[in-house]
Symmetry: C2
Subunit: 226 residues, 2 copies
DNA sequence: GGATGAAATATTGGATACGATCCTGCGACA
DNA sequence: TGTCGCAGGATCGTATCCAATATTTCATCC
């Protein structure tokens, strides 16, 4: 029985792989804000041509991770405190709204999904891998909002989140902040499970606002130190 | 005195020109929802290669105008009534919020800009070109929100708007709706000029909500008709 | 006659090659 | 000494060409 010549992973396009690769570097902090991304360097590093690299960069620009200027290439976008306020204010409007819509049409399956996301997050704290923790944190938020059936708004939130994600990592690292976030996640889930839209919305808003305040003050300290 | 060899327009890249070209076709209704966009056809039409066409399509996907599926090309994205509700709910959260922020830091120059946008819109009604009208309508909204200094949120709004824009055109065409929109714009501007944040926000919200209702009901009729 | 499957065709994805633009460093001139 | 202009190299933007995938066509079988 001849196996298929290539593994299933090959199903995705090179562009997508490159985009993932660069995004991971940025989110992981390997490419800090302001870092110049050379198309040829990435291409050589991955053994591909520059075309998929360019197209990956275009996608990342749409997600707000890089900024492209004509004939000057792509630089990793840097977040000012004002940018962070901008991004989080938008999240603070959208997330509470969507969670109410989600609760309005919540199935038991949805609740189970959120519970699983919560447990995954819990387990990751024990292991302590910050990148994984960041990913699972967002997975929890996504699970909360998914039942709202608002793909466009979810896409917007995705970009808002990924623009601030790598800065959130700084906040999420200290163990104290982690356990605080976990407790908040538990509280949110409890209200969510009971389908209490108002309370869930309130808790979620506070949860996001706390994170925002933490990041903004951190960025302001950084800018003052400059 | 030797003039520069090429006109100033050449300053932008081919990709940008192609993106503009396709976007205009979509917004203008020449490419209806669901229409397959062949890279080679566009390339031949404009006398360029397929590479800038592909990159233009990637940008348009980020703006929500087309959907790209691997090895199947790009199709003009079609809006369901649910999508429209999704998009407009997000706008209804963001625009009133941003206009309040804008008023909080309003300069006389900003007010003059809005007034000019309002007059341009007024003048376009007289001429009656629907594409131009659509563009100037959004220019007015943008001018209102610009002083908020929230570039990230503005970028989000831009994509939300351009996804629904061409359906708005249907609503904006009847003369009655046009004059209604104009009167609303005038009312909004009056409150804005007086720096009345609450009233401006209220009027703007209603203005957007009215447009949303019109479009959604129109889409629903279309879906029922199949 | 309709469904199934394989070859032919069309279309997209990616690699290589070339021209255009921008940045850097050196020298000329005020 | 400081500023300007001008090579030279580095990097990006686009065209051409090849490979991979999807769609269509057409013969075959039930």
């Amino acid at each position: 029985m001849p196996t298929p010549p290539k593994p299933l992973l090959q199903r995705q396009t090179v562009t997508a792989m490159v985009a993932e690769y660069i995004a991971a570097k940025i989110i992981g902090g390997d490419y800090p804000g302001g870092h110049q991304i050379r198309q040829e360097a990435i291409a050589a590093e991955l053994g591909v041509s520059r075309i998929p690299v360019r197209e990956a960069l275009l996608q990342l620009e749409a997600e707000g991770l890089v900024v492209i200027r004509t004939h000057r290439g792509a630089v990793v976008s840097d977040l000012s405190a004002d940018d962070a306020i901008d991004l989080f204010d938008a999240r603070l409007l959208l997330e509470p709204f969507l969670v109410k819509k989600a609760i309005a049409r919540l199935s038991n399956q949805d609740i189970a999904n959120v519970e699983r996301a919560l447990r995954d997050y819990e387990a990751a704290i024990a292991r302590g891998d910050p990148k994984e923790l960041s990913r699972l944190n967002w997975a929890f938020h996504t699970a909360l909002l998914e039942p709202s059936m608002r793909p466009r708004s979810m896409a917007v939130l995705q970009t808002l989140y990924s623009s601030a994600d790598r800065y959130l990592r700084l906040q999420i690292e200290p163990l104290k902040a982690q356990t605080k976030a976990l407790q908040e996640h538990r509280d949110i889930f409890e209200a969510y499970r009971l389908r209490d839209a108002v309370e869930t919305s309130r808790l979620l808003k506070k949860h996001v606002a706390d994170a925002a305040e933490e990041i903004v003050s951190q960025l302001k300290r950084g800018e003052a130190a400059g």
